[in-house]
């Protein structure tokens, strides 16, 4: 079993070199002629490079919904981590095995229903 994880470790090493190799190759082949205009931020055509950084309107405001979805995600992702070990234990299932997960899920569905009721899932 440990050998398999050693292979995963070797694979991780190969996976890190895999995307770096073409970048290095491209670095050797590609032309390098940077000009000021070429390096300006992609925009609608108005030159923004002479303005102050604050006035460049790069950083735009975001809806608070992104944050709410992130919090909801954390709740459910932790749940999912518990579902897997429970799901593997099918060979020793009892009635309690089902009820246990039902109770656990009901608590989380309660949270989802609360968020739904409070209109947190609406994209306003």
């Amino acid at each position: 079993m440990l050998e398999r994880y050693a292979l995963i470790g070797l694979f991780a090493f190969a996976a890190i070199t895999f995307p770096i190799l073409p970048l290095v190759l491209a670095f050797l082949f590609r032309p390098k002629k940077p000009t000021r205009l070429k390096q300006s931020t992609y925009e609608c055509g108005i030159e923004i490079q002479n303005e102050a950084p604050e006035a460049q309107a790069i950083w735009v405001q975001f809806r608070v919904q992104y944050y709410i979805y992130a919090i909801l995600f954390v709740v459910f992702d932790i749940e999912v981590v518990f579902v897997y070990p429970w799901a593997v234990a099918t060979n020793q299932m009892t009635f309690f095995w089902v009820v246990e997960m039902a109770i656990f899920m009901l608590i989380l569905v309660g949270a989802l229903a609360y968020a739904w009721r409070k209109n947190l899932l609406e994209w306003v």
């Binding site: 292979l7 995307p19 073409p22 491209a26 460049q56 995600f73 992702d77 897997y84 299932m93």
Partner: protein
């Protein structure tokens, strides 16, 4: 080794042959058994990794060809047909272009983040290929936690996409990155819950275990046929996974008509090539996972007699599922961001939660009835 078992199972036979040859050479040289084992392990590991790392870009290149050709036909065009017969050399021309294209790094980007983003996007996909079982005994690693490993790696790519959006110093990239992060985390929950249905049905979390659990009915006991849970779980998985890899109709993070190119607006040359690579390898990966857990992987008629057929079955199923996704690309319009979020949280999450509980209850009831019948009978 008799010739029949070599013909029916060539790849495993060859790997065993190499293994035996190296072992016997080292033993005859008087190397201790422990060191021999380690050397053989290292050589086999290097061979496996090299094959997979050559296979991955090759598959990706011809998937781009297939996509362009198929979508072109669906839209009544010809698609690439100039470079080589049927445009078959087009992917190679594209690769040369990626290599020789100037890499424009705009002013004001967050240097290290901008550079690392494409690398971070590619690494988890390549790592995921380590546990995929391409045929009977044909996987780099037969991990006992394979599905959990795949799920864990699947969420790492979000970081790379968000790094690209955040480090680009561009409004469009930032919006694309935020959208990608929100979309991927929202659709990850139904995806992972849908993947727990095969785990429940098979009672195993390793891909080999799940495939072996589908061996009934003359190699056709696939979980997709476990009506009603199988098809529903597969549909939930397909929708959620398509959203995970930002493909049409869920391509909001890179919506051309709104956001130029989304999170990779400021990338050019090989860095853009790496994003492109990651997207196609992800498409292959989700099709391969769906083929493994819902369509029986390498399972099919006569696999027990002729193991090499397993490769044909596996790639056949995977390519079919890839084609379904390309078909989405050719026919469906992009959905709006509020529709996306509503569908994810108000439809897919409740459906997948109910599905997990329903499957568990059904499994328990089935077992209970079976036990009761057994005790009545004897």
């Amino acid at each position: 080794m008799d010739i029949w078992s070599f013909i029916t199972n060539p790849f495993v036979s060859i790997s065993q042959l190499i293994n035996n040859v190296i072992t016997s050479i080292l033993t005859s040289l008087g190397v201790p058994a422990d060191i021999t084992r380690i050397v053989v392990f290292l050589i086999m590991a290097i061979i496996t990794i090299t094959i997979l790392l050559l296979l991955a870009p090759g598959m990706m290149m011809y998937m781009t060809w297939l996509e362009r050709k198929l979508v072109a036909r669906m839209q009544d065009r010809l698609g690439p047909n100039r470079v080589g017969p049927f445009g078959l050399l087009q992917p190679i021309a594209d690769m040369i272009k990626f290599l020789t294209k100037e890499d424009i790094v705009p002013e004001g980007v967050d240097g290290p983040v901008h550079l690392l983003a494409p690398i971070v996007v590619v690494i988890p996909v390549i790592l995921s290929f380590a546990v995929i079982q391409f045929g009977v005994g044909l996987g780099a690693v037969d991990l006992n936690l394979a599905l959990l490993y795949l799920v864990a790696l699947g969420s790492v790519a979000t970081i790379g996409v968000f790094m690209a959006g955040f480090g680009s110093h561009n409004k469009f990239a930032l919006i694309g990155g935020m959208r990608a992060a929100a979309q991927i985390i929202s659709y990850e929950i139904p995806q992972v819950l849908a993947l727990s249905i095969p785990v429940l049905l098979a009672g195993s979390i390793s891909l080999t275990g799940i495939v072996q659990a589908q061996s009934g009915l003359f190699g056709l006991g696939w979980f997709i046929f476990y009506i009603p849970v199988g098809p529903i779980a597969f549909l939930v998985y397909l929708i959620a996974a398509t959203a995970e890899v930002n493909r049409v109709p869920f391509d909001l993070p890179e919506a051309e008509s709104e956001l130029v190119a989304g999170y990779h607006t400021e990338y050019s040359g090989m860095k853009f090539g790496l994003f492109y690579l990651a997207e196609f390898l992800n498409t292959f990966l989700i099709s391969a996972i769906a083929a493994t857990v819902f369509f029986g992987g390498w399972q099919g008629p006569f696999v027990a007699q002729v193991p090499v057929l397993g490769i044909v079955y596996f790639f056949g199923k995977t390519i079919l599922l890839i084609t379904v996704q390309l078909w989405f690309r050719g026919t469906l319009p992009r959905i709006r961001v509020d529709q996306l979020m509503n569908f994810g949280w108000k439809r897919l999450v409740p459906i997948s939660l109910a599905l997990v509980l329903f499957t568990a209850a059904t499994l328990w009831a089935y077992r209970f009835v079976m036990l009761a019948l057994k005790s009545l009978g004897g």
